[in-house]
Every structure is written in C-alpha cells, then in structure tokens.
C-alpha cells in the first residue's frame, strides 16, 4: 500500500512540544465535551422528525398546525382509523407490500442460489461469459426501463385477458394477472431486476465454502441436488438471510415501478398508497398519516437496527438503499 507521505510542514522543535503538553491535555478535554455536544445534536437532528411523527400519531389532534412535540393527551384513534377508514384501504396496502416484498425475496433467493451453485461448482463453457454478463447486467438497472416494462406488462395483460385455468381444489389460476395493475407482474419485475447483483454476491459467498465438503458427499453417492440441498445450502444460510432481507427492504421501499405499474387503489403497495395522503387535505389528516408512517416504517427500522452489522456489510457492497 502506498500511504501518503508524512506532512510536509512539521515542527521538530521538541521544546515547543513540551511547553504545550498541559495545553494539549485540557484542549483534549474541551474537544471531548465538544464531541459529546455534537453527538447529542446529531441525535436530536436525526430524531426530531421521527419524534414529531410519533407524537402526531398519538396526539388527538388531526391537523398538522396544532401539532406539538409533546402531545397533550395520548390516544390510539389514528391507528384505529387506519384500519377502518372509508377513504383508504390502508390494511390492503400493507398486505400488498408484504406479499410483493416476501415473494420477491423468496424468488430472488431461490433462483440466485441455484445459479450461484452452478457458477461456483461447475466448470463449463460460457461460465466466464455468464459471469461477465452478470456484471454487465448491473449497468442497466431495470427501473430505468420503466416505459418498456409498462408496455410489456400492458401487452401481456392485453394478450391474456381470457385465460383462466381452474384447478379443482386449488382455485382459479389467471395468467392475465401478470399484466398491468397486478401484483404478480410487479413481483416478476422486481425479482428479475434483483437477480444480477445478488447472483454475483451469492456466488462469491458460495466460493468460500470448501469444495471438499460437497465433493465428499458426491463421492459418497449423493447427487448434485442432494449435495446442494444437504451440504452447501446449510452452510450459506447467513448470506441467504441477508439477501432475502435486503431484497425485501428494497422492494418494500421501491416507489417508481409500483407507481408506474399499479393503477387501482386496492392494488397499491404502501409506497404508492401513502402518496394519496399528500393529495387534498394532507395537513388535515396529518394524525392518520403519521400513524400510517409509524406502522409502515417500524418493522424496517427494527430489522435494520437489530441486524446492523450483517445488513450494513451487504450494503457497503451493494450501494445505497432507497
């Protein structure tokens, strides 16, 4: 490593340094108190909007203008209103968000694990090309192709309106629900967009599992499927969990694709639905909005804080969360 050269301007006079020793110590104490002050101010800066929203959600007042940091009285009316509002199907939005984010996470983890096993364990023609393609794909986040994705889903929806396959005992399967304004179509878009990077990440982790382990299983007569299922998969569980949680959170936080693809209120994810609060009398339903914001954010905030170390490790490699 080529470190920077030592500072050019240095004062070699030992006497000058000695004369300042006492000053340095007290200056250090002052600088520490200064740092504590900064830390406190930072906490205040970070938390004021958060507190403001939490108290607004508990304050009986509905408007933003009368809201204060300390509520006069604590009530859960705003939370109750969320669940039986005549205006917004808010519970449906949360449910949609959870369905979309969970299924996306499951599909991403499953497909990435399969592909990563192959890239890590087999040597085949086109392997290097495939790995390079995975890097290349990261140059084109599919969020940027939202116009084409919109037209694609529209075309799929138009092409398939009459299809509905009834499977007795299971229900009616409608491929048409992959079109515009469907959660199914949105899930496939999210999952497809997350595959490139996560396969790459997972392959790197698979590489750290010694090949001797699954090879001995193969020698003992296991098939690749069995070696994957019973030897490799249990060892890579941490990375599976991190990728699942990260794809859940980034899907949950996405706004643009959901906004483009979903058009009817009952199909909205939380991110799109919440924008309805800022239309019209936003400031008049501030309390309800605040309650929605608290419930919408809390699970993510808690997950993040509990798993700080693991998730931030993944994030430092993956860039920036939405």
């Amino acid at each position: 490593m080529s470190g920077p050269t030592a500072p050019a301007e240095v004062k070699p006079a030992a006497a000058a340094r000695q004369g300042r020793t006492l000053g340095v110590r007290s200056r250090r104490r002052i600088s520490l108190s200064f740092k504590v002050l900064i830390a406190v101010l930072t906490a205040v800066y970070a938390l004021i909007p958060v507190f403001f929203v939490i108290t607004a959600s508990l304050n009986p007042l509905q408007t933003i203008s009368g809201a204060s940091l300390i509520p006069t009285r604590v009530t859960f009316d705003h939370y109750a209103r969320l669940f039986n509002s005549p205006f917004h199907p808010w519970p449906q939005w949360i449910l949609n968000s959870v369905i979309v984010s969970s299924l996306t996470a499951i599909i991403v983890v499953a497909l990435c694990a399969l592909a990563a096993y192959s890239f890590s364990r087999f040597r085949f023609r086109g392997r290097r090309l495939g790995l390079m393609a995975l890097v290349l794909v990261q140059l084109f986040p599919n969020m940027l192709a939202f116009v084409a994705l919109f037209l694609l889903l529209q075309a799929i929806g138009n092409a398939l309106p009459s299809f509905s396959v009834a499977i007795p005992g299971v229900g009616t399967f409608e491929p048409a629900r992959l079109g515009l304004n469907s959660l199914g179509g949105l899930i496939l878009i999210y999952a497809g967009g997350a595959l490139g990077f996560n396969t790459w990440l997972m392959k790197a982790y698979f590489d750290t599992v010694p090949y001797d382990l699954d090879e001995s299983a193969l020698v003992d007569g296991a098939s690749h499927t069995q070696a994957f299922r019973y030897v490799v998969l249990p060892l890579v569980r941490p990375v599976l969990a991190v990728i699942a949680i990260l794809s859940f959170i980034s899907t949950y936080s996405d706004f643009i694709l959901a906004r483009v693809m979903l058009s009817s209120t009952e199909n909205f994810t939380l991110a799109v639905g919440m924008t309805l609060f800022i239309r019209g009398q936003f400031t008049q339903q501030w309390g309800t909005f605040a309650a929605a914001a608290v419930i919408g954010a809390l699970p993510i905030v808690i997950t993040f804080l509990l798993l700080q170390r693991q998730l931030i490790g993944g994030l430092a490699r993956g860039g920036v969360k939405g």
């Binding site: 909007p49 140059l139 084109f140 483009v260 700080q308």
Partner: protein, 529 residues
Amino acid sequence: MTGQQEAPRQRGASSPILSLIWRLIALAFIDAVALLLAYAFFGGGLGLAAIILLAITAAINVIFLVDRLYPLRWISPGLLLLVLMVVYPFVYTVYVATTNFSSTNVLAKEQVVERLEQQFYTPEGSESLSWRAYRSPDGDFLILLADPSGRQLVGDPAQGVIPLDEYQATFGPIDPADNLPTSIDDHVKLSRGESVRYLTALSQLVITDAEAQLRIVSLDRAELGRQRFVYDPATDSMTDQQTGTVYRAEGGFFVAADGTRAPAPGFVQVIGLDNFFRVVTDRRISGAFFGVFTWTFTFALLSVLTTFALGLALALVFNDQRLPLKGLFRTLAIIPYTVPGFISALVWVGLLNPNFGPINGFLRDFVGVNPQWFSDGTLAKIAILLVNTWLGYPYMLIVALGALQSIPGDLYEAAEIDGASPWQRFSTITLPLLLVALAPLLIGSFAFNFNNFTLIDLVTEGGPPTPGAVTPAGQTDILISYSFRLAFSGGRGQDYAFAAAISIFIFAIVAAITIFNFRLSRRLENLTG
C-alpha cells in the same frame, strides 16, 4: 476455491431413469403453457414476444435433455427471468426510442388500416331498400331486405349481408299477404306493429361484412353502405372511395395532399434517431431539457457533497474512543437511514408545509421569514437538498466510520510526533485515505441520487412548473422524473417514445459512471491489496 469439475455428470443420482421421466413430465407442462402463451401473444399482435418465448422454451428443452448442459439447468430459471425483465425491456426501450410511440400513435399500422377499412359510407343516389325483421326467442334479429328491382337479401349479424338464395336456413311457409316466409329458422317475422316496438333496437343494429354495412334508417327504409377506405399496399396509400382523396402513409398517419388526416388514430412507426435530435434541435424542448439535465447533475453532486461532508464530520466525532455511549449515539444517528425513503420524504413534505408545518412555524416565530418551499424554484431545490441530507448522511457516516477504523493508527502517531496540527493530520492523512477508500461508494451514491425518483417525485413532484415549457418539465425534475412525466402524466398525452429516448440518455450516463467505478475499484484493489 479449489474444486474443479470438468465433466459434471449426475454421479450417484438415485435413478437416472426416474429423473428423466420427471424431467419429461415437467417439460411437457412447460411446453404446453408456453405454446398457449405464444398463441395468445401472436393473437395480441406481439409477434416478437411470441418468437422470443418459443426460442426460450426450445432452449429450456435442450438444456434439460442434453446431459452435457447440466450446469445450465441450475442457471436457466434465473436466466429466463433476467432475459424477460432486464434484457428484453432494455432492448425494447431502445426500439421504442426510435419510434413515434405515443398516446396518438399506439396501434400497429395493420390495425389502423383495418380500422379505416371498416368504415362505410352510403353512396349518393344509392337505392333504398325495404325491410322486414325476424326475431328469435332470444331477442336476436334477422333482416330480410328487398331492393326496388325485387332482389332479396338477408342481413344476419353473424354472417353479414347475403343474397337470399345463398342463405342456408330453414324457411317457414310463405305468407300470401306479403309473399315472404313467416319464419327463418327459429326467427319469427315481426308484424308492422311489432317492428315499431323494436325500432329503437333495430335502428341500433349494424350488420357488417367485408364490403357492405346494413343500417335501418326508418320503418320503411334500410341503407346498404359501402366500404369507404381501400388500402393499396403497393403505393402504401389509402383511397377514400367517397371523395376520391388519396391519403399517403407519412410520419405515423395517413395524410392527404392538403395535410388533412384520415379519420383514424396514428400508427407506430420507426422514425430513427429523431427523438434524440429533438432534444437539441427543437428549441421548445431543448431549453427545458437543458434545465433538467443541469439540475440532475447539480442535485446528484451536491447531494453527495452535503451527505459526505456531514457524515464524515460526524464519523470523526464518533470515532473518538473516549466518547461515552458511543453505540447508542451511533444507532440513533443512523435511524434516518433505516426509515423507508418514501415515508421520510412524505414526512418532510408535512414538516416543510409553508402554512401549517412546524419548520415554517419556527422560522416565522424566531427568524421572521416564511419561505414558500414548493412554489419557488430555488427554494424547492434547497428543500430537496435539505431533505436529502437528512436521508443520506447516515450512509456516509457508516461507511466513513468503517474506513476510519481501517486507517493504521501509527500514521497518526508518527504525524503527532512530528508535530502535525489536527487539521494537518486530517487534511494530509485522513481525508486522502478516506477518499481513496470511499471513492467507489461516493460514485455509487452519485449514481443513486442521479436516479432518485422517489425523493423528487414525493417531495416536489418535480415542481414548481417551468414557465413556458412545452413538455411537462418542472424546475426540480431530474432526468428520470422528467422521463416519467413524459410517459405517464396526463394532460399533454403520453409520449412513450420521447420518454424512452430520455431513458437511453440515463442508461448511457449511468453505465458510464458504473464502468468508471468498476475500473476505479479494481485499480484501488490493486493499489491496496
């Protein structure tokens, strides 16, 4: 990783035969579904998608039946989704950007030709027909027509207008009163009184076949219309049979010599690179585009600078081992990062509300100003940056803390022994080392903010509007939100093609940034590792 397997085989598979049977069953199912879908795609005018689907299905069959391609079996499901949702949309974006696809030009040319050819007119001086209606128990009608010369025709909604002697049906006995059959199949002749009763339904009845269109005009009269437009593929033109006007296919419409358009929507047509040139050549667009373009870079750059400056300053504070409750402070400081961005953005919209929001309340009471955050362009930009600083500094704090801890302590000791001041230590050791370590992340953050649609659209919706802009470009719009508005905002129509062209610009810029970043981080890896 040391293991190498040259020829993967299903070593020790419990039963190769069983595995083959399962694969055949699964493939049969997949093929059946794919064939159905492809059939539907062809019917829906999606020939390209159908061909791609069939090609992919064929590839899947090969991959799962040829043993040599065993490793690909693991990759193919992910690959399929990747092609459908990343590669195809990218290719399709490029295609759309070279067309005139918009809300006025949606249909394929064949569809527009078909629509025009389904229009009818009644030639002047055409003889009127007398008619009688027959009604089935289900309420369906058949019309029996007679022209003045006595030739009889049957109007059947299912089949069109057919000469009576060619019409296949069982006729009832001839009624001597009017010399017509009393019934045709299960349709029974209506008396004049009954015809009056059903006249509304009958006059709405339009019976059409390839050349003619039958309408009931009055109780005594029906008219047979003729096809109005005839398409000639050789000259790529549409002739109006009524007026003789010739409409040529031009720029996505059928246009007559005097500039009038045939009465049909436009069609999608490849127009080459016009959408890209429009940005430069069309003065009404180039002004707004230049504003958006400049602000996108300014916004992304300032966002990185503000968040990094604040994050780094805090990292220096939090890196002090003597700081009490370090873990707690750190956790509190990164909370803004853990809140989903769309929620934070909306909360800030409330906090910054000029009339009722607490921030303006504070500013009114203690500073004496009341900034109109969302109606003034400059203030809106400042508001965006303020909000983004709050959202983004924790990320910088986290990564800067990590990087600070990896700077060897002896560098500082050496500097201190040499008598370097704290500022000298920071500017000659800390900052350069941090910048080297964090450069890829800073560039990543730049690319992220470059496309930070969530923030812009939720905080300002791109507004306030740019005065005099012909395209829906607001003063805080960045390229991606501008593209979104071109494609989906109502009012001025959906210009998918121009939006796709803007997306291509973004693609190119983001790809350039990312490639630069890959190279940079590889160079840094060589440098540091």
